[in-house]
């Protein structure tokens, strides 16, 4: 409500000037602030089990609610929010999680290669990804999709992404699609709040708490690499991956965008992403593009590689190769 347009209010102001019963812009803002404070307090505290929330939880939630943008946080603030989230997970769900905010390693640029000749469509990677990244079990969210393609087909749109039969089928090949972590990422450009960006090690990440859920990035991505939380993600405590990263597999909430992060919580520790680790056929190669001795560099040098929709100029760090 704009107090300037409120004619009644103006009239009142004239009449009540003597009685000191003011009704002006300042008064309106004061009232509005009170109402907003009450409302947001109810919103922040009301989400969890009724009104039975401890004082500590209310305080932590408030601090979480008012925290800043991850990229502008100092290291101290980053450590604080990580500790708060760990404590909140303990209070809200009763699970002990270990969250990190590990920074990228210098001289590392992650690259990924997928062998279309080797993949046989067993979908072990999809399963490992869902478990590692605490993806919503209710809506069956998956970061990776495997398409069953006939020979000659090149685009996943032409393939069958929802097959469920014994694999591999003769005269077909399997093509895995996930976030390609483009160097020139269209999703990053589309985000109105800069909640998504590319880290120096090449991983495109999302600050879940800075995301407003407009899904512009989802529309901008030509590879369908992004997923939206239509509902509060549902993961059982015992199935939850406890080793988490602030920009990676920590629990998202409703209305937030999420995506593959090359398992940032694993890859920054020197481990392989869950999909690479789970692949039974060795079709997935992961490594440091700036390391001349790495496997990914060997693939780029010695194999026939191509990238999906290379003509769009998105410059993805995900190559397909054939034996």
């Amino acid at each position: 409500m704009n107090p300037r347009n409120n004619k009644d209010c103006r009239k009142q102001q004239k009449d009540n000037q003597v009685e000191d019963n003011r009704c002006g812009r300042r008064e309106f803002l004061k009232k509005a602030a009170k109402v907003a404070a009450l409302g947001s307090a109810a919103m922040v505290t009301g989400g969890a089990a009724g009104w039975k929330v401890s004082g500590e939880e209310v305080r932590l939630r408030w601090e979480e609610y008012l925290k800043g943008y991850y990229r502008l946080m100092t290291q101290k603030e980053k450590d604080e929010t990580v500790r708060r989230l760990e404590r909140l997970a303990k209070l809200k769900r009763g699970v002990d999680i270990q969250m990190s905010n590990k920074e990228p390693v210098e001289g590392v640029l992650f690259g990924y290669a997928f062998n279309v000749t080797r993949c046989e469509g067993f979908m072990e990677c999809v399963d490992a990804c869902v478990k590692e990244n605490n993806l919503d079990r209710k809506s069956h969210t998956q970061y990776i999709r495997i398409f069953e393609m006939e020979h000659g087909q090149m685009l996943p749109e032409q393939g069958n992404g929802k097959y469920y039969h014994e694999v591999p089928v003769p005269n077909h090949y399997y093509m895995g699609v996930q976030c390609f972590h483009c160097e020139n990422a269209p999703c990053v450009k589309a985000c109105p709040t800069k909640a998504t960006w590319q880290e120096p090690d090449g991983i495109v990440v999302v600050d879940y708490d800075w995301c407003i859920g407009c899904r512009y990035c989802m529309a901008a991505c030509p590879y369908w690499g992004r997923r939206f939380n239509w509902n509060e993600p549902y993961v059982l405590n015992k199935e939850m991956t406890k080793k988490q990263h602030y920009l990676g597999n920590r629990m998202r909430s409703r209305g937030q965008m999420e995506k593959c992060t090359f398992c940032i919580q694993r890859s920054r520790e020197g481990k392989l992403p869950a999909c690479v680790d789970a692949c039974p056929t060795g079709a997935r190669v992961f490594g440091n593009l700036l390391d001349p001795k790495s496997e990914i560099r060997f693939v780029l040098k010695h194999k026939k590689v191509y990238r999906l929709k290379e003509d769009l100029g998105t410059d993805p760090k995900f190559w397909y190769f054939i034996d």
């Binding site: 520790e269 020197g270 190669v285 440091n288 496997e295 560099r297």
Partner: protein, 205 residues
Amino acid sequence: MKTPIHKIFFFGILSTVMIVFSWQHSYAGQEGVQYKAKNAIAPFDDEKKMDSVPSLPDDSIMVTPKYQGGAFWTLTRKDKVERFKCTQCHNPEKNNTEQTVPTAHGDIILIHGGEEPLSCFTCHKEDERDFLVTEKGLKVDLDHSYQLCTQCHFRQAKDWVGGAHGKRVSYWAGKRVVKNCTACHNPHSPRFKKRWPKTYSLPLK
């Protein structure tokens, strides 16, 4: 007749300059990730850069060939074979156990080699059962079984050494430890079996 100076400028100097700059421009446009990767030739020292380099697993053994980064390792096999040493049974003394062959190796199905199938003694050394043997008759340790596969599958072996075939064990950083051929392929029937996928996908839209 003398050529006017503006004609010399337009057709001579300007066109040359434009050609030179267009060539430069077309190369400047290649500053992608591929260009970045190609130009990164400085060696990456995992131990210095990474603050927690994984140590070499206890059950790893150095592989004879070298990859582009030097020596690499693979996981051992001998200590995981339940009834090693083989000579416990395969010795000159007579074994009196009933139905020895089906109880000992009844689970082995040999589908390897296509038209000319392999026999047990293509790879296993007949007179020294604790070892494997190459076509040339060289004795090979069970941990180095890749040396046998290399004899026929040399293309795959080349990729395995380089990193385009096979898998690393858990870590992309640190010392390179890869899985042996027999970690993924059953040496007796190496082709992957047809099976149901682990999970399924819902349509996106």
